[in-house]
């Protein structure tokens, strides 16, 4: 060991001499999280954790949640999709399934995500724009027409009104004659990140947490194969957070959810196996790989030591990854295909369970069919042509990656300790701490771009005179009018007395603190609209008022 130190010292001295004549490209090389990087890493940099002879599929799962990972089954290729009408989305889903996609992902429009019907004044101009408009069970039935729910796995990106949308999905399955126990899928259902990074909240934190634990309890009994929450770091990263902050705030939120469920009387091993996560695959290649590995180790230890989980399944950090949308440029959009490929590769080398690759036209509008196909092919090429899926955790043992994994773990722990001292995620959100940290990182990054410390190809360097943009997807503005008409027709043909009764039952359950799922199911069956159900809950719980400190 001393011999190695000596050799390293000599090597460094030689390098320093050379640097006097040939300075490096930057004064220091850092990752997004500000971790300073050495010129080269050696076995002297391997952290103690490596001495424990970690293996994939074994606690603390740094190297992977399963023993043989992609050798057994590739990650799920799940492309986020959905827009305008339920019919068009239904067509797109059938197309993707025929092209080899293995799971469906539903994107909802903003009014739906915020629990508003398409005829609400604030919905004006937003209907069908970023996803499909779902106002009632009727729309959900069209969305999944001829799609056998027992044969697909569906991920729904829905948060504040997740209970209602899941209830609609369950009723569609019911009508198809499919047993709820055979349903597979996920609802994002992660309200805490909405307050700091995504903005589609409805109610304040406390009642929102109650709704979430109601879902945990109901599904543990009735929909056992459903992932009831996708605790997300993706959006936190997109909002400007660093890699360390992405993991720290996600885990802080996760800790809060687990605490809430335990407080509500659930046994940790009953719901924890169904918790899943959602991360970002950003630009710094090795930092991302190290980040995923560190996250697995951190979560396993939190579940075992902090929450006393016994079931190994409770300790697994299973996650979906999406390549970072904010890294894509409007300039020279084809470059984005390359960015996405590299980010996707880092996610695979990081051991993700499922992956969404962005389309090249992401910075311009919703993706065209061709762009979506290229994004899917990117994953298929990685899976079948590169060989990276043939060995588990191929970067395990790399001096650099192991050192970076340990460093990220250390910094995340420090940040988590700070949040614990504040009283947890909700307290940190209420005081604005998390929001400020994220905004500061976002501003710092922007400054780095402005000063060209951070190069963005095609934007602040290697620019060209931009040509006309490729064919973009346009959402037909008549979609809003058509959806509003459908709503009116629905309201005229349904049994309004039944609807009223069902809505009153939801309100009563909310006031009494009973589990909301059963009355929500009944309301959904009666064709009460999303806006009506959420409206009743808004009256009982109130609306969250953002404080928004800059």
């Amino acid at each position: 060991m001393a011999d190695k130190q000596e050799r390293l010292a000599k090597w460094r001295a030689q390098l320093e001499k050379a640097l006097e004549r040939f300075p490096e490209r930057k004064k220091s090389f850092t990752t997004s999280s500000g971790i300073e990087l050495k010129t080269v890493y050696t076995d002297l940099d391997l952290p103690p954790a490596v001495d424990d002879f970690p293996l994939p599929g074994e606690f603390p799962y740094t190297r992977g949640v399963q023993r043989n990972m992609y050798r057994g089954r590739l990650w799920t290729m799940r492309q986020y999709a959905g827009f305008a009408t339920a019919e068009e989305s239904n067509e797109r889903y059938k197309y993707l399934l025929s092209q080899g996609q293995t799971g469906l992902s539903v994107a909802f429009d903003l009014p739906t995500q915020i629990g508003l019907d398409s005829d609400h004044p604030l919905a004006d101009g937003e209907v069908g724009k970023v996803g499909v408009a779902i106002d009632s069970l009727a729309d959900m039935e069209v969305l999944f027409k001829d799609i056998p729910l027992d044969k697909v796995s569906t991920s729904m990106t829905i948060n504040a009104p997740a209970m209602v949308l899941l209830a609609m999905y369950l009723v569609v399955a019911e009508k198809q004659g499919v047993d709820w126990a055979s349903l597979k899928g996920t609802i994002q259902n992660d309200i805490l990140k909405e307050y700091v990074a995504r903005g589609t909240y409805i109610f304040p934190p406390e009642p929102s947490l109650k709704i979430i634990t109601d879902i945990f309890a109901f599904c543990a009994e009735n929909v056992p194969n459903w992932n009831t929450i996708s605790i997300s770091g993706y959006h936190i990263r997109e909002a400007g957070a660093t890699a360390v902050q992405e993991i720290a705030y996600t885990l802080a939120n996760a800790i809060c959810y687990v605490e809430s469920a335990i407080k509500a009387g659930l046994n940790v091993d009953d719901f924890a196996p169904r918790l899943s996560f959602f991360f970002n695959a950003h630009s710094n290649f090795f930092e991302e790989i190290a980040k995923f590995r560190a996250a697995r180790k951190l979560w396993a230890e939190i579940m075992r030591h902090r929450f006393g989980a016994q079931n190994p399944k409770s300790m697994l950090l299973r996650f979906h990854t999406q390549t970072g949308g904010s890294t894509l440029t409007a300039q020279q959009p084809d470059n984005n295909i390359v960015r996405v490929a590299l980010q996707a590769l880092s996610a695979v080398l990081g051991g993700t369970q499922s992956l969404h690759t962005n389309s090249r036209d992401e910075a311009l509008a919703l993706p065209s069919e061709e762009s979506v196909r290229i994004a899917l092919r990117t994953q298929q090429i990685i899976a079948h042509e590169t060989g990276v899926a043939d060995v588990v955790d191929p970067l395990g043992g790399s001096y650099y990656v192991e050192s970076l994994t340990a460093e990220i773990e250390k910094r995340v722990k420090e940040e988590l300790a700070k949040i614990d001292a504040m009283g947890g995620a909700v307290a940190a959100i209420n005081s604005g701490y998390i929001q400020r940290q994220i905004q500061d990182s976002a501003y710092q990054f922007q400054m780095a771009v402005e000063t060209k410390e951070q190069i963005i190809v095609g934007v602040n360097q290697f620019t060209v005179e931009e040509e006309t943009q490729p064919d973009l997807l346009r959402v037909d503005p008549s979609v809003q009018a058509a959806q509003i008409r459908r709503l009116q027709e629905l309201k005229s043909r349904r049994d309004s007395a039944k609807v009223r009764q069902a809505l009153d039952a939801v309100a009563a359950a909310a006031r009494e603190g009973a589990n909301l799922f059963p009355p929500v199911l009944d309301a959904v069956r009666s064709y009460a609209t999303l806006g009506e159900i959420c409206g009743v809950l808004r009256e009982v719980y109130g609306e969250y008022q953002a404080k928004d400190l800059i």
Binding site: L110, P111, Q113, I114, L116, P121, L122, A123, D124, G125, E126, K129, V130, E194, R198, G199, T200, E238, A239, G240, S326, T329, A330, Q331, A363, L364, A365, L366, Q439, A442, Y443, Q446, V449, E450, I456, V459, N460, T468, Q469, L472, V475, P477, A546, D548, I550
Partner: protein
């Protein structure tokens, strides 16, 4: 020298405020007074705030694709309120082909992803100077 006052607003339901906040900070660092409205503002609310705060410019940020209906609405309502001296500019996820339509509707400039902050700051300064003339 009276500082320039700018209202930075998020019309509609889009919850992505990273860009709006970064622009707000940049304007502040350039010596301007910035009022940030927060999320979920209707065009009516934005115009009311702009008039009460007597701002020189309004900056709108939208990433949900609803800009074609929301931005012109703000311009129109300012006009109806007799406040067309308040200039409107916008940014977000906006296809190039939508920009001429927005400019025609009275939006003074549209800043798409990748625009350097300096450009936006200079635009605001120049516009206010011209407006005073």
């Amino acid at each position: 020298m009276v500082p320039i006052r700018v209202l930075v607003a998020k019309p509609g339901l889009d919850g992505h405020d990273r860009g709006a906040k970064v622009v707000a900070r940049a304007l502040r660092d350039a010596g301007m007074e910035v009022i940030y409205t927060g999320l979920r503002q209707s065009p009516e609310q934005i115009v009311r705030a702009a008039i009460q705060e007597d701002v020189d410019m309004v900056g709108l940020s939208c990433l949900s694709g609803a800009h074609n209906s929301l931005f012109p609405k703000v311009v129109q309502l300012l006009k109806e309120a007799g406040a067309e001296d308040i200039q409107v500019f916008g940014g977000g996820v906006i296809p190039e082909s939508d920009i001429p339509g927005l400019l025609e509707a009275g939006v003074r400039a549209v800043f798409t992803p990748g625009t350097p902050l300096e450009e936006i700051v200079n635009f605001v300064r120049e516009s206010v100077k011209k407006g005073d003339a």
